[in-house]
């Protein structure tokens, strides 16, 4: 792992992969813990549409609320991953998590179940993959 990090350049918006090297999105927000008489600590990273839309603006947050499935998403569809779960930082950031366990994958899974699988031919693709 690198000794020094430029947080905006190296971490924010960096591509994240899980322990199986599957893409799990980008680092949409980075949370810093401000402490008394100690340097700010990198506490966690957030992945998911709501974290990204908050960066863009209120109008984007409002627009996002219109997406079906949004209200049923666990933890608001945001994955909070402690920075201690970072395994390595390079061109991508490898995290010690599994993609399927992340709440931010809820919308993608919902789309796969309710939209993609209903497209003719999608089911056979799925079968041939497995």
């Amino acid at each position: 792992m690198k000794d020094g990090l430029d947080l905006r350049h190296d971490v924010q918006d960096a591509q994240l992969v899980d322990r199986r090297h599957e893409n799990i999105g980008r680092c949409d927000a980075l949370l810093l813990e401000l402490r008394e008489n100690a340097p700010p600590r990198i506490a966690a990273m957030l992945i998911g549409g709501p974290a990204r839309s908050e960066r863009i603006g209120r109008w984007m947050t409002a627009l996002r609320r219109l997406v079906p499935g949004h209200t049923r998403a666990p933890e608001g569809g945001v994955s909070r991953i402690p920075f201690a779960a970072v395994r390595s930082i390079g061109n991508t950031i490898e995290l010690d998590v599994l993609r399927d366990d992340l709440p931010s994958e809820h919308l993608e899974q919902w789309l796969a179940r309710n939209v993609i699988c209903r497209i003719p031919g999608a089911e056979s693709k799925k079968e041939s993959k497995s």
Binding site: M1, L32, L34
Partner: protein, 111 residues
């Protein structure tokens, strides 16, 4: 007591000195690994403050300076590296340095 702030809420914020004069905008935060008994943490060691703010965020200081020169504006670039213990983040929306603008400039000239 500790609290959390998102990095994107700090980036681009105007930083003032103790007299209320603008030093620049937060452009980058440098973090380094800190080893302790219970494991490792990344902690912020430096705040990079610059006069080009958002432009540098997009393109880097060299490109930003060149761009402004080509636009016909003679704007000297001023960048400061502030150690974490010289920044006052009690109100993260209004970050302040503990050093005055003169002290920071003297430090920059020495470097």
């Amino acid at each position: 007591m500790s609290r959390e702030v998102a990095l994107h809420h700090l980036l681009g914020r105007a930083v003032l000195d103790p007299h209320g004069r603008k030093v620049g905008r937060v452009e980058e935060l440098r973090a380094e690994i800190e080893l302790h008994e219970h494991g490792n943490d990344y902690v912020v060691t430096e705040f990079h403050i610059g006069s080009f703010g958002a432009v540098e965020s997009l393109a880097g200081p060299y490109f930003a300076r060149m761009l402004l020169h080509h636009l016909g504006r003679l704007v000297p670039y001023r960048g400061h590296v502030i150690p974490w213990n010289r920044m006052d983040l009690r109100d993260p929306r209004h970050p302040r340095t503990l050093d005055t603008l003169e002290q920071l400039r003297a430090e920059q000239d020495r470097a």
